[in-house]
Subunit: 430 residues, 2 copies
Amino acid sequence: MSQTLKIAVAGLGTVGAGTLKLLNAESALLKARCGRSVQVTAVSARDKSKDRGVSLDGLEFYDDAVEMASKADCDVVVELIGGSDGIAKQVVEAAIAAGRHVVTANKALLAVHGSGLARQAEEAGVTLAYEAAVAGGIPIIKAMREGLAGNSVTRIYGILNGTCNYILTRMREEGLEFTDVLEDAQSLGYAEVDPSTDIDGVDAAHKLAILASLAFGREVDFDSVHVEGISRISQMDIQFAEELGFRIKLLGIAAITDHGVEQRVHPCLVPADVPIAGVEDVFNAVVAESEYIDSLMLEGRGAGEGPTASAVVADIVDIARGLKIPTFAIPAVDLKSPEPAPMDRHYGAYYIRLMVIDRPGIFADVAAILRDHEVSMESVLQYGRSPDEVVPVVMTIHETEEARTVRVIEAIAKVDGIVEPPVMIRIENL
Amino acid sequence: MSQTLKIAVAGLGTVGAGTLKLLNAESALLKARCGRSVQVTAVSARDKSKDRGVSLDGLEFYDDAVEMASKADCDVVVELIGGSDGIAKQVVEAAIAAGRHVVTANKALLAVHGSGLARQAEEAGVTLAYEAAVAGGIPIIKAMREGLAGNSVTRIYGILNGTCNYILTRMREEGLEFTDVLEDAQSLGYAEVDPSTDIDGVDAAHKLAILASLAFGREVDFDSVHVEGISRISQMDIQFAEELGFRIKLLGIAAITDHGVEQRVHPCLVPADVPIAGVEDVFNAVVAESEYIDSLMLEGRGAGEGPTASAVVADIVDIARGLKIPTFAIPAVDLKSPEPAPMDRHYGAYYIRLMVIDRPGIFADVAAILRDHEVSMESVLQYGRSPDEVVPVVMTIHETEEARTVRVIEAIAKVDGIVEPPVMIRIENL
């Protein structure tokens, strides 16, 4: 194990440059911790000459990352290109085929092709490591795969997208609407120019699918994740949630239910006094639950140069130390098929906001619909009184099946005097 | 790696019995995750016949745990006897001498003899694992040793004793005094009959010394930990802290300072809005800080049968998977000497409560003392007015050296009209 571990890095964006910087700055510490030197030997990027704040002197440079993955003098290929298909996938497959270990921060790739790539890597006897793909600087993959190795996790959930959490935090703290905060976040660099992957919940869904596979020993099943984003969340709902003792968070939640594996990403009302409700700004957090540990929460920075480079380097150190653990904690060929639970069968409580013309009788119609569907109301609040004007009416209903809630909302939407489509947000029992 | 991993368990108290139950209940899962079976072959306890809710049929039983450690048919000895010396230490040394891996939950042993035992284990080529020794079900050892392997941690702190956190939480929530809650905690089994190890801060200090060694790559230095317990915390201070925007927590804090490695366990005022302030009841939490990740917090159950057994089994799984990492992340022979920072040189802010006879002029004397020592007051609050009666006066002072604060307090204590020794609690900048 005294031989130098040689690293080739594909992609020199923020995380790639950060990884080079960390490996340079901490080389003595890493040598002490690995029992051998870790050295970058090759890099690949679109533009060699761009100033990244780190020298590329003495490194082999490849224009073609796929060529680097198979030909460079290296033991490990670090894939930081991104995207579920295209070059990133080719780089990973070429590296595995050439017998190189792979470290990747690519959540989309793992979410879409994770089980297949894990099988390829395990057949080739190499490691496919992806700590940086989920929740950046939080070592949640290691915690799940090793730290909780004695546990059958029954539910795992988290704040998996820092951009969404930042927007929701500022909406709550400053009383702003979604679009205003989004624009500001874009100008500050906290949100992308095209923010859809973040705000539509897709990024969180990628991460959730990976966590669910690891937690439950099943093939990664991104296609079955129920995904809703945060763009429909209004200031009004944030304030009503707060009055009811909740905060609105975009959570990814995966759980074993009577109907299969539930995977969902959507805005939730969470009780204001549970730990994850206090996770604010760009911070991420993941909670795992099992019989033995009850619950474990990890909270930290989920993105950015330093946290993501830290995760990439942790995977490199594992490889340097000779760690060999199956990609998803059990051999990929033994991962069970996904068995997704239909969202219709989700069982939970709901917040429903109606915009109602303030006149007698309308709420009697709503109450009759609830009664006819055997749905039980927990609370109802009308905010303000303005005869013949439109006012918000908020109600929360006790736990019931999603399909039934959908039918109730469809029926309520048709009541004369309800002037907008009802807003529904799920209430989580955490 | 397809051979069964054989386990001998020394000590069948709550955690020992819990470990046997977990290994039985999850044997299929563990086999899938380890790629081999894990099987208990031998146990040792004082009383063979005691009902522990788990069968000992088919297991070799030893009255003498040290004999078991050297003679039983096993690959791993799990030491769950406890205590820094005596039989526990003999068991661990015998196991290492016989070439067996060791898994222990023994924080006192590691805190006092950790560096020496690590050297012995590494010379013998066996693993000494201790995830269960710090913060129970929270995989903080793995997170530090591997998850943050690319980071130079600069500060690590946490709520490391569930009994103290439970007592402080109930004091705050219910307005009770320390002794009342302690008695109740004892009757509920949350505090020992002799609670001194917990409430005096010694248990937290054991854990802190282990974390500091791991974080900073230095020999374990329990003797240098500055330790204060929670028995002097009064309801009055809890209320004043809350009015000032703080909560009182017993923290263990280890940090690299200009004067060496600071290690201290004592009650602290922490800002009410930082994540660790919200960690309540018996929960533990640990926060690690470094340049790259900024900060990472892990929160969960720090004690009890299930969480501790989960940690013991995680270590067993690591061994079954062939993981080989030095005990304290770098080889024990390379651990640096401790270089403790003297507590006199601690630099921080302080809360000071005086009991003062309410008459003119006394506070002028106090203010003069502060001025003469060049200590700057941040706030001063007198609660209530009762001429010639004793009233509490609370002040907070800006960051200064501990030695100076001690001199100030000694001088204030001598002021005519100050009727009790001043109460000092450090304010943490988290």
